[in-house]
Amino acid sequence: MTTGESETKTSSETKTPVENEENETSKDAMSTTTPVRAPEDTTADAPGAPAEHGRVGGGVFDPKQLWKSLPDACRKLDPRVMAKSPVMFVVEIGSVLTTVMAIAKPGDWFGWAITAWLWLTVVFANLAEAVAEGRGKAQADTLRKAKTNTVARRLTSDVEEQVPGTELRIGDLVVCEAGDTIPGDGDVVEGVASVDESAITGESAPVIRESGGDRCAVTGGTKVLSDRIVIKITTKPGETFIDRMINLVEGAARQKTPNEIALNILLASLTIVFLLAVVTLQPFAIYAKAEQSMIVLIALLVCLIPTTIGALLSAIGIAGMDRLVQRNVLAMSGRAVEAAGDVSTLLLDKTGTITYGNRQAAEFLPVHGITAAEVADAAQLSSLADETPEGRSVVVLAKEKFGLRERHEGELAHAEWVPFTAQTRMSGVDIEEDGIARKVRKGATGSVVAWVKEHGGSVPEDVQRLTDEISQAGGTPLLVAVEDVHGARVLGVIHLKDVVKHGMRERFDELRRMGIKTVMITGDNPLTAAAIAEEAGVDDFLAEATPEDKMALIKREQAGGKLVAMTGDGTNDAPALAQADVGVAMNTGTSAAKEAGNMVDLDSNPTKLIEIVEIGKQLLITRGALTTFSIANDVAKYFAIIPAMFAVAYPGLNKLNIMALHSPQSAILSAIIFNALIIIALVPLALRGVQYRPMSADKMLRRNLAIYGVGGLIAPFIGIKLIDMIITLIPGIG
């Protein structure tokens, strides 16, 4: 299997840039266990630089793949396989007929040449499909390695026994300890462990899996790195996530999608029309005393029927799925990918998708008579003992805005640290500098006000105004107070807010231009939600959202005929994931969520929903563009073949030979060769997908019509002429 190996290599090569970029995002997703996250390292996954990445791109096409897929392409010549594509099946039948006729008349070089090129047309079509499938096969091979026969340690009434993984049934309890490979999909019911899921996600950093909650799902084929867990099996062997993944990437489970079926119907009817046009031509030709040979008629037919799109249609579908796989998204059905292109409402979780997911200090607001720098200094001091994300962010902001170097706990002598606790809701420090005692506190408004009053201080009037303003803007105010020689008093307010990721507004503007409405889902109160929605530029928001609210929203949108996409990971998201037209479950989520969604994002990056939509659109555009191209091509082929067929009977028709093709034979042969070569020439486009940028439907149509419609009219005139010029150089033809 040299083929398989080298393909694996190619595949991993093509994946590298994606992986690099996704590594960052995966870390973010992983960091849910340790929610501390500095703002810097999240910029990578923010869609702030849409021009460089984030745009739908495709795997690089390597011409070598064509050669390697050749055996597969030939295997696909089996009529039972070919019959699935009506257009190419007609070409295959045509090839068989011309072969028979060429054998009957072995001296006719023209018959042999046409026969050879017809067969090549069929092989090229199969090659396109084989190449598309080949990429998936490489991925499947990697997955199979993870699936090697595992031995499960089954627990039956507290007695452990060794059974093969394939014998596990739903509901069985198995034990896994450090070093064990998890034998099947299930939920952790006991214990906590770190698990290496790289076999599936490609991400080497381990994740934590624990019983209860939303992090209990484990996947068969992944490896326990530490501790011991008891797993309750939730899927039958052979239907596990990894099995489904293998089927999906291999294309074994591929079914034609609704739109593909519709397009196939249209192509079949066009094929019938052209079949009629060619079959009925013979009586007309006989009347005109220009009876045509069967070979010429078959050549005409093959040129006219939409072979280009017929040959590439399934490759486009497979490549679309593959583009998702390259982004570490598994679509459970092609239907879901197609639906993604049609989505008109995106439900986006605020946390992790729109915002960085935790409140961060954004501003220091001094009360009257105090400078912001003083507030910053006090705030920083009082936050050094605060290890919560909010506390860290205060230190970071003070450094960014006022250049205040972070001081470490050991640096300050005689410092007595007051760590943040949920009870006191304050943190701070009591220090003595040059014999002067100074107490600094930072915390929730109520607590700090109480502390100041307790120490005999007063609260300035403008504190109330400042905190109100912050609350109204959706932020959280923290007061900073100090007690020193001047007594206890409030210095100012820290404005904590949920920071919207960089570039989100631009992204949402783009989506709006594409006709997609974005709805932010958040558990925040309506005030906070409105402020963040405003800042991020989403079209709508759902505040204080419960799973029921989410479900109701989806149903409401769907009742209006809209297609809805959402992401989710919790068990309580499962009904909504199932209801949504595109439900992307996070791989870190529960098995219920993964079961309910029709896609799984292995990187657990909710922002990817936007990319999924783009891939769905690109898939449809590629189909439409190549269909247009294919039909537009026919015009030139007529101008090549009709004069070649009938100029003998009606010399006037030679005026239609506007390409001035050399001879009737060379004209027909050139058309057939062009028809075959254009398939190969378009394979990279079919696999990569046509270039896609978010823009209005009108603009996009104008652009694609110009390229694929007008281009499709003109290109074959040039192509056929060139081929004609080349083949006339061959002795015996020219």
């Binding site: 052209f274 079959v279 292109g341 008109s344 439907a697």
Partner: protein, 563 residues
């Protein structure tokens, strides 16, 4: 008179032609809105007129019952079957009927052909009206069909429009109500006014017996009579085309002068074009109607220009002296008016002629032929033009819709595999009928003997006959003797299949669309009311037709014209 002739003479024929086309467009534009909206109101109105109630009672129909597409189709087919039977019998017993003018019963094959022809709104005539049909058959049979066959077409189109306009229901309206209203409220009053105009301008309306005159030279001449003006009015208004006389609209009693010629062209085009307004109003966006109108209008104009050009520019000294290809054209109308009429009659399903298409230049004949091959959609027959163009719009939306990255939608309805199945079947039918029947006729030894000319022109005659029949046009290339058992029968079958099979798919499509829930348009949806889409639609229509018929056209008009 000499002054007037001099005045006309000072204007070049081409200039006169341009003015005439402009006047025609202005006239059509003036009635477009009021007439289109009136038709929309007719089909939307909940009220029944008293005379309509009588008709419903007489035929035992409940005009308020909503029909699913299958019931609607049953109504169409049952009504048409009864019509065919009735018309066939009427012709077969003609000699026993009063006012038969002494004509004998029509032969079975010709009676079958004529019955099919008038019920399918084709009005192909393998007979000469003035020497075959008496008053009862002409007025009680053929003229009645002129009304109801046109109304059936409009009813089917309205059902399709309702399919777009309605949601989450299978109901497409009531066939009987649509049929009766269309006749009573649109076709009858319209034809009445049109007939009066025609009579005023010199068309005859006379139910007596033939007049026998002695000419100045002393010869005996028989002058035919009949309810010509009334039939002429609905012949054009309902895009029927079956002439009272063999010479059709070239006959001075049917089409006396340049104004009636202009008026008849107006009548031919007014319903098909105005229906796009009806469509726009009914689907709640007149702009969508404008887009369809624009596509129809552009194709019509392109054809008018090419036709006129090819007739005016026809080479040759004699033709040059005559100012164009005058063979087979009436001196009263000249090249311009004849080209305009020929284009309008072949781009609708009318088939009335004021000149002989066979005598047009090879390209001119080819353009007439291609016009019919487009499938009667620019603007097409009454009703059939609209539904034909909407089907093409669905095909165009499907391909173009994909190119904007969306599952294709038209008028807020998804174009999925079911819709494409019906639309693709629709566009298959007429090409299949034309090509298969022509191929069989050409393969058999005898049919070609009917052709008056050898070579490509003879082939064009046969091709034209089946193209005309399958698309329910009814015009003849002339030169072909179609009154043989072979042509009477096959053309009869061709007309029936070409009319009713497409209707099956149109209604099935309408049913499927009506069941859908609408998908709201977003910025990502293809805008089908924009000029870009109208242009795309024109391109789709021309390319799909041209690709289908290019080989056949190459061996007919192209081979002749390029030689």
């Amino acid at each position: 008179m000499p002054i007037a002739a001099g005045a006309v003479g000072s204007m070049s024929p081409i200039c006169a032609d341009v003015l005439q086309v402009t006047a025609l467009i202005v006239a059509l534009a003036l009635v477009y809105r009021p007439f289109g909206d009136y038709m929309a109101a007719v089909f939307a109105s909940p009220k029944h007129l008293r005379v309509e109630r009588w008709i419903y009672k007489a035929i035992g129909a409940d005009p308020d019952a909503q029909m699913r597409w299958t019931a609607y189709l049953r109504g169409v087919l049952a009504f048409s079957a009864v019509s065919v039977l009735f018309l066939y019998l009427l012709q077969r017993v003609q000699n026993h009927l009063p006012g038969s003018l002494g004509f004998s019963a029509v032969s079975p094959a010709q009676a079958f052909n004529t019955a099919m022809s008038f019920v399918t709104n084709t009005n192909w005539q393998s007979y000469s009206g003035e020497t075959t049909m008496g008053h009862v058959v002409q007025t009680g049979g053929l003229a009645v069909q002129n009304f109801v066959s046109a109304a059936v077409g409009i009813a089917v189109a309205i059902a399709l429009v309702r399919g777009f306009a309605r949601s989450r229901t299978g109901d497409l309206g009531n066939f009987w109500a649509d049929l009766v209203r269309c006749v009573v409220r649109i076709l009858l009053p319209g034809s009445f006014i049109a007939a009066i105009v025609l009579v005023a301008c010199g068309a005859i309306q006379d139910f007596g017996t033939w007049h026998h005159l002695t000419t100045l030279a002393g010869d005996q001449q028989a002058m035919p009579v009949g309810g010509v003006a009334s039939q002429e009015a609905i012949k054009e208004f309902g895009t029927n085309g079956g002439g009272y006389f063999n010479a059709n609209s070239a006959h001075p009693f049917e089409n006396p002068n340049a104004f009636t010629n202009f008026f008849e062209i107006f009548l031919i085009l007014v319903i098909p074009f105005s229906l796009t307004r009806t469509f726009g109003t009914m689907v709640g966006s007149v702009k969508q109607g404008y887009a369809i109108l624009a596509a129809m209008g552009i194709i019509w104009l392109i054809f008018v220009i090419f036709m006129s050009w090819s007739e005016f520019a026809h080479p040759g000294a004699a033709l040059h002296a005559a100012g164009g290809a005058m063979e087979g054209k009436e001196q009263r109308f000249g090249v311009g008016s004849s080209s305009l009429f020929a284009t309008s009659t072949t781009l609708t399903s009318t088939g009335a002629v004021n000149s002989f298409h066979s005598s047009f230049s090879a390209f001119g004949g080819g353009i007439a032929l291609l016009g019919i091959m487009l499938g009667e959609i620019a603007p097409g027959g009454t009703g059939s033009g609209l539904y034909g163009m909407l089907i093409m719009a669905i095909i165009a939306v499907f391909i173009a819709g994909l190119m904007v990255g969306h599952t294709p939608e038209y008028l807020d309805k998804k174009i999925g595999s079911r819709e494409i199945k019906f639309a693709a079947s629709y566009i298959l039918i007429t090409p299949a009928l034309v090509l298969i029947f022509t191929a069989i006729a050409m393969a058999l030894p005898t049919p070609i003997h009917s052709a008056a000319n050898p070579g490509p022109h003879g082939f064009s005659e046969v091709l034209y006959a089946y193209t005309s029949a399958a698309n329910n046009n009814g015009s003849a290339f002339a030169g072909l003797n179609a009154n043989t058992d072979w042509f009477n029968t096959t053309i009869g079958i061709c007309m029936a299949l070409g009319r009713f099979l497409p209707m099956v798919f149109v209604l099935a499509l309408a049913g499927s669309l009506a069941e859908q829930q609408p998908v709201p348009a977003t910025a990502g949806t293809l805008r089908t009311e924009k000029p870009l889409f109208a242009g795309l639609l024109v391109g789709t229509v021309l390319i799909v037709t041209a690709l289908t018929f290019f080989p056949a056209l190459a061996l007919g008009p192209l081979a002749e014209g390029l030689s």
